[in-house]
Every structure is written in C-alpha cells, then in structure tokens.
C-alpha cells in the first residue's frame, strides 16, 4: 500500500515538475493522457478481464461533451471537465448490456459502439449541435497551463483509483470474479453490480481525460478524438507494463510512448515497422508484461 502510494505520488510529481526542465509540454501532456487511459483500461481489463476495444468512445464522448458545454452552454472549462466525465458515464450506462458478452464478442461490440458514436457525432445532420464533421474550435477557453494542471490532477485521480481497487474489498471481489465467477457468486459477491462499477469508473476516467484533452488541444476534429489508435495505444501500453498492477501501465506507457516518440522523431520512415514488431515480440515473449519480469526476479510490483 505504502509502496503504491509512493509510486503514484512520484509519478504525479514527476509530471507536475517536468515542464520546468523540459519545454515540450505537449509531449508530456500526451504521455499523461495515455497514462490515464492506460490506467482506465487497467481498471476494466486488469480487474475484470473485459478488453474495451472501443475505449476511445468514452474519450471522444468526453471531449465533445466538455467542448460543447463550453461553447453552447458557456460553462467554465473546469465545470466542462466534469460534464465530460458525466456524459462518458452516461454512455457507459447505455452500454451496460454489452457486459453480458464475453471475450472477443465484448471487445468487438465495444468497438462497434465507439464507431457508432463517432458516426453520430460527425454526422452532418447534427451540425447544429456538434458541428458535425467540421470540428471544434475551443480557442475561447484555451489555456495550456490550466489544462496541463487539470491533466496532472486527473492522473492523480486515475492512479488513486487503481490503488484503491488493489487494496479494497471491491478490487478483491472483482479479482475473485475474474478468477472464477461461479465461486465468487457462491461466496455472495454481486457479480453484475461489481462489474458495472468497474465499467463506469473506467468510463469516467476516459471521459474526464477526453474533456481535458479537448481543452488542451483546443482545435480538433471528430476523427482526432474517436481515432481507434487511441484505444489501441492505451491497451498496448497497459498490457506491455502488466495489467492489474499500478506500476505496470505507468512503466509501459513511459517506455513505449517514449520509444514511439523517440523513433518517430529520429527514424520516421521505419518507426511504424519497428513499433509493430516490438508489439509482436512483446506478446510472444512477455505476454504478462514487464511486471511479470520483475515478479519472476522476486520483486513484488505495486
């Protein structure tokens, strides 16, 4: 527990102070964004085994809800963040029936839901509401420092959620369900309720993250915030580090996103190839992530 809290505090502190030493704030912001999303994936996949392939749907919903509540309702950006989170949770509520599906079926249905949401938001018939495919310009609320700070706070929230899950009855119940659903039910665990809570928590994190992203980036198109790559990156980062741990997704995101940016900047021609091959190698030779390496060596990962 202490170790987990220290790791979390160190990570948040690192990102809070980093802009003093390193001027590419956008890169830091993106790293934090993927870190939050990877932890969001972790909340769901790590603790329930559901792989939300369309996770970006919550992110996009949060981005649009946040941005539109600033533009159409004149809310302050901070309040808009909350709206982004709430709307993502509402989307999660609508999609609760998907939890009846298992394995690949859930992943694909979730993906379809995200795509459906994208086509609704970007539909030209809804231009009066969402501005359709023509994108959002949030320049009125643009504030790089404040939105960066919001993302730092959000990172703290995401890490706290995972620490809580690892050390609470809820987390224990979820892991029991993941191991063996029938026994968990017999032990008196309300499977449906506990899973739904994890699902909505995960949606909340992505929605808040989307709204913070919208605030920071300030000009974006539907394809920016509903890009399937966002889901996939977050999933790969979380699994690379090791799901169901706190440190796994942190290390996974920092290493892989660092690699992504480093190769992307110095070797743009070949980086997609290298990135793809790294992922293939990872699954084949380190299927349980970096955390499993450390555990094999006798270190317990927080």
């Amino acid at each position: 527990m202490l170790k987990a809290v220290l790791t979390g505090v160190a990570t948040v502190g690192l990102f809070a102070l980093a802009p003093v030493f390193y001027a590419n704030q956008t890169l830091l912001f993106s790293a934090m964004m993927y870190l939050v999303l990877a932890q969001g994936i972790n909340v769901l996949y790590g603790f329930t085994g559901y792989l939300p392939f369309g996770y970006v749907g919550f992110f996009g919903a949060g981005a649009y809800a946040g941005a539109l509540s600033v533009l159409r309702l004149g809310l302050s950006p901070v309040l808009a963040l909350v709206v982004g989170g709430v709307v993502a949770v509402l989307v999660g509520v609508v999609l609760v029936p998907l939890l009846r599906l298992s394995g690949a079926y859930f992943a694909i249905a979730n993906l379809a839901a995200a795509q459906a949401l994208y086509y609704v938001v970007s539909n030209p018939d809804l231009q009066a509401l969402t501005n359709g495919p023509y994108g959002i310009n949030l320049a009125v609320a643009y504030n790089a420092t404040a939105s960066y700070a919001a993302m730092v706070a959000l990172l703290g929230l995401a890490l706290a959620t995972v620490v809580y899950l690892r050390h609470s009855r809820l987390g224990l119940a979820l892991r029991a369900i993941r191991e063996d659903r029938i026994s968990a039910e017999l032990a008196g665990i309300n499977v449906v309720r506990e899973r739904t809570i994890a699902w909505l928590l995960s949606a909340l994190l992505a929605g808040l993250c989307g709204a913070a992203f919208a605030w920071y980036i300030s000009v974006f198109y539907p394809e920016t915030v509903f890009s399937l790559n966002v889901s996939i990156f977050a999933i790969v980062f979380a699994l690379f580090g090791g799901a169901a741990t706190l440190a796994g997704p942190i290390v996974g995101t920092l290493v892989l996103y660092g690699l992504y940016s480093a190769i992307g900047i110095s070797q743009p021609e070949y980086f997609q190839l290298i990135f793809g091959l790294v992922i293939v190698g990872l699954v084949l030779f380190l299927p349980d992530g970096l955390a499993s390496l450390s555990e094999r060596a006798g270190f317990e990962v927080p």
Binding site: L27, S30, S122, I217, Y221, G264, Q272
Partner: protein, 413 residues
Amino acid sequence: MMRQKGLAGCVAIAALALIGLGPAAWAADAPAVLKLGTLYAGSGAFAVPSTSEHEGLKFWVDQVNAAGGTYVKALGRKVRLRLIAYNDRSSTTTAAPLYNQLITQDKVDILVSDFGSVLTSVAVPIAQTHKMLLFDPTGTGAALFSPDNPYVVLCSLPTSAIWPYALADFLKKFEPVRRVALLYATNDFTGSQAATLRERLRGSRVELVYDQGVATNTSNYAVLLHNVEAARPDAVIEFGYANNDIAFLQGLQASGLKFKMVFAIFPGQLFSLLRKNVSEAGLAYTYTYPTPPLLAYNKVNYGPGLEAFLREYRQKRGEDANFLTVAGYNTGLVIGKTLATADKLDQLALRRAVEQFSGKLFTLDGLFKVDRSGAQVGELLPVGQFLPSGNGVKMQVVFPFALATGKPVYPAP
C-alpha cells in the same frame, strides 16, 4: 526499501527516456543558419498531397542554399537555411507534440505547417501560444483564421470558402445549365465549398436539384451516382479529397451513366495521380479548378516563372511537379520574401513584413494577398475543362471569360 528504490529507479529511467528525446538544443544566438521546421505525412490519409508539398518546400530550401542562402534584411546578409521535418503520419494526435517539439526543442526560426486544414488545425493554437508565426501552405479551413490571431499566414491557396466563386458564376451565366446536382464530402475543406456554392446559387435561375453530403471515407459512389441520375441534373458538382474524386470518377466510368457536365476538384491539382487512376478517357470533358502546372500565371515579379520552375524541378528531381509541389515551393517564396522585407527577426515583425508585400507579390502561384486574419484572398480559382487531345487530354480554361482559352464542350459527348 530497496525494492521501492528499484521501482522508483525504473520509473525515473523510463521518464528520462521520454524526456531525453530529440536532438539537444544548440546555441541559437549566432544565426549562421536559420532553422525552418515543418511536418509532413509519410503515410496515412494525407500522405500523397503532403509529401508532394513537402518536396516543393525542400526544393526551395535546396535552391536557396545552392545560391549561398536567402537574403535576410534584418541581418543585412545572406543566410543559409536548415530544414527540420518530422513525420506525423496524417495524425493530429501525433502532429501536436511534434509541432511543439519544433518550437520548444529545435527552436526553429520559421514554422511551416503540414498540408491541409486537418493537420494545420492543431498547429494554429500551438503557434499562437508560443508566439510563432505559422506559415500555412494549404490549410484553407475558415476555422483556422480569426482577426485576433496575427500568428498565421495562408500562403498558397485561397481560403476554401471562396474557391467556388468562379464556379458559381459560371453555372449562373452558362445558359444550358438549369439543374445542378451537388455531392460533397463532409469535411472542412469541401463542406465549406458546398456551403458557398449553395449560398451563391440561391435565388438564381439555377436550381439545386440534388444536394447530398457523404462521409469523407466514402469509396463507393455507385448508389449515389444512381441517386444523382434520378434527379436529372444538367451539371454534377462533386467536391471531395483526391480519394473521393478518384472513387467518384471510377464509379462513373464503371456505371455506364453519362452526365452533361461533371466537375471535380483534384483533377486540377493532382493531375497525374488522377490520370493514373481513372485514365485519360475518364477525365475527358471533366471540369475542374485548374491550378499550376495546368494553369500558367504570366505576371510574375518574384521567383521563377512556371515554365522555368517545372524545367528545373524535372531536371534536378527526375519527376514532374504537381500543384502541391508548386504550393510547397510557393510557401518557400513567401518565406523568402518575408525575410527579405522584415527589418527585425521577431515573429510579429515577420507578420508586418507580410502585410507590406501582401497584394503586390506575384509568383508562379498567382497573386499573394492576405486579409487581416491571415487568410489568402489573392488569385481566385478559375474553371477549366479537360478536352481530348491526341492520346491524352489538355486543359482549357472556360471561365472567367476574360481568362478563357476556349468555349466549354457541352453537353459532354
């Protein structure tokens, strides 16, 4: 305790890996060389136009350096240029940190955005925050420009909302056309053109009998073509990106349908790509906005004329320039003129320099003129038609009548 240190160490190392990226910043005080930073899309949806545009800019930089540099008035001498370019793979989420990288890590002196509105969009707020003037070659979306942001200048194309001015006038004045069908891809670039065309045709003798937006990733126009046909139009206007135009013209060819007049944007901009994909027969009698090299502006007071540029480009690069190469090159010319005009090197001084020559600069891409918000309002795009000629096709400008090199062949045989 040891364990905690190990873990913290692990996180710290990973973080250093993240932070220590990119080339180290070097001393920027003695500008022996000016740094130009830009992005291009090496893959993805915008790769084709973006790489062409990037080649054009690179060609200009190479040309300048071969001549010993570009004259910088603020320093009173010629300075060589260094081009720093990253690949954003057509993704705005990748592009945003890279634009920031150029400004904050590479500390470029001149910032140039990637092709088109989507990839330019994220650069606009970043440039504004860092008070860098963004030279925007072809990001024409109206949302990118506002009078209270001096840090953007659109170099090589008029803002997209004014593209169809000549086309709308042509449709209104061309007697045989009474019923017009409009089919457009719903994105900033073509959506704003559709809005303008609709607006300009309203209340005229021309009736819009079909008006349909489709998703930009539409790749099959078969059913849509039949819908259009059912409306019995005299003219079909299709606004889309290059992939839409290819799919539309291919679908038209395969369907066996015939329309009296068909207009599409990209045959006039990426002629050789379209020719490869839909063949000369598919382009014959099609209308488009002709741009250089299909259209030559004769009045040039800065940089080479079109012929000279095309010749040199073919000689040095072994391939033909297309419009986007011209656009990228023209952005270079605008930058060159800015450096030769500005008396200081700070970014607002550069912007003031642009104001000074705006409306007076004629290049191979036509008149350069920006309004208060930095949007390009110079040369308007005329309307042209491809006519069969020998084995291929040739471009004939049909409107405005003052520029016209021939009469439209209508209806298409």
